[in-house]
Symmetry: C2
Subunit: 227 residues, 2 copies
Amino acid sequence: MTPHVKRDGRTTRWEQHRAERREEFVLAAVRAIDTLGPDASVADIAAEAGVSKPVLYRYFADKNELHAAVGAWAADLVLGRVLTAVLAPASARDRVTAGVAAYLDTLAAHPQAFLLLSRPAGGTDPLAAGKDQIAAKLTRLLGDALRHLGGDTGAAEPWAHAVVGLGTSVGQWWLERHTVSRSAAAGYLSDFIWHALSGAAAESGVDLSRLDAGDGEVSPIRPAEPR
Amino acid sequence: MTPHVKRDGRTTRWEQHRAERREEFVLAAVRAIDTLGPDASVADIAAEAGVSKPVLYRYFADKNELHAAVGAWAADLVLGRVLTAVLAPASARDRVTAGVAAYLDTLAAHPQAFLLLSRPAGGTDPLAAGKDQIAAKLTRLLGDALRHLGGDTGAAEPWAHAVVGLGTSVGQWWLERHTVSRSAAAGYLSDFIWHALSGAAAESGVDLSRLDAGDGEVSPIRPAEPR
DNA sequence: AGGTGATCGTTACTGCGAGTAACAGATAAA
DNA sequence: TTTATCTGTTACTCGCAGTAACGATCACCT
């Protein structure tokens, strides 16, 4: 891990700076997308950041990578908010409800960005990245819970993807046509998720509603692990 | 509704033919996408159909419309298969299971096309069309069931979107990494959906497992209503 | 028979947006 | 002072969506 070829101070001194600028460009992209919609061109984003295209391309190999970074940013945002809500001490059901509420709040703050989030893989890899990131976290969460309760841990991954897909789909629907209030949407959504999980638990003889917070079924929040 | 301007035989005689050719082009698009992946260009599709681009553009205003048509085609396919499974006479739970199995079978037959299906809206309207079509059908189905059972019919639409999103997300996950067998995936998926629905029903005092087929909670399959 | 209105199809273009080349200045480590 | 790496620019290439313009065919109509 020590310097490989040359690596004198002239090489290394920029590294922190690079990370900061990259982050700055991601935020500019989010701003541009919030304003211009998810089809904002690279030139638009560069303009929003106050630079010209080639500068952006020094930080991101192509548009997909930029989009992926935006996806990761959004995923961190939701994950952070939802996890703090879900891990708060309360009954299991209340925690689900709180998590869903936090989710919809976050969506409402950046509608355009989240519409982008729901446009995932062609065959290549546009920005499923964000969703996968969330799904991975959820998989661990569910897996731990299932193990703790003695259920079938194989269910963790499919269910995690189910919850993510369900969330993006309902979220998108709610963002596009606001036919119901946020709280109503949150209610329907959390009922659905709660019943799915607790019903499955009940079937293996576990009463989920007795599960309390801080129950060790989940690891603490970690600050956006590097990709 | 009688001829508006001129409409002699020379105008009308093509109408059936147009519909047939359009369908033919949709199938060619499906083939091209199955082969070349979801990023197949319009030229690729035209080549697959044995024509040149402008011909395609006589039938579809732009690429989105073509994609939307592919989405609609796929939606019809799944809807057809899933509905016949779901409407077959059996216990409610078995019907859910059968529906999910039919769904995964259909996915497996056209993986590429369905990966395309899950790449929906920018802000414009790429091919959310197909998903919306399914969601609409599901909304009616659930709405009728809820009304029949005296539940809150407002839940129908969010839940329909939840089921669609859940299905595409898990479907995509399963197509990309086949980490579990089809039947296992089907099991996890149908458990999830079944518990979500029956749990919600139970909460309003209804025992869903007593619901039998042909219960009038659903209208018969209709042959792909024109858009 | 001969004109007409619609299709069939082609090749060759425009135009936009992603990504690149090439070049010039700044700054701090060596 | 040289050197490595950043800063940034303008002006290009190139691929693909979509269009223009043209000619052929064939059944209907008069």
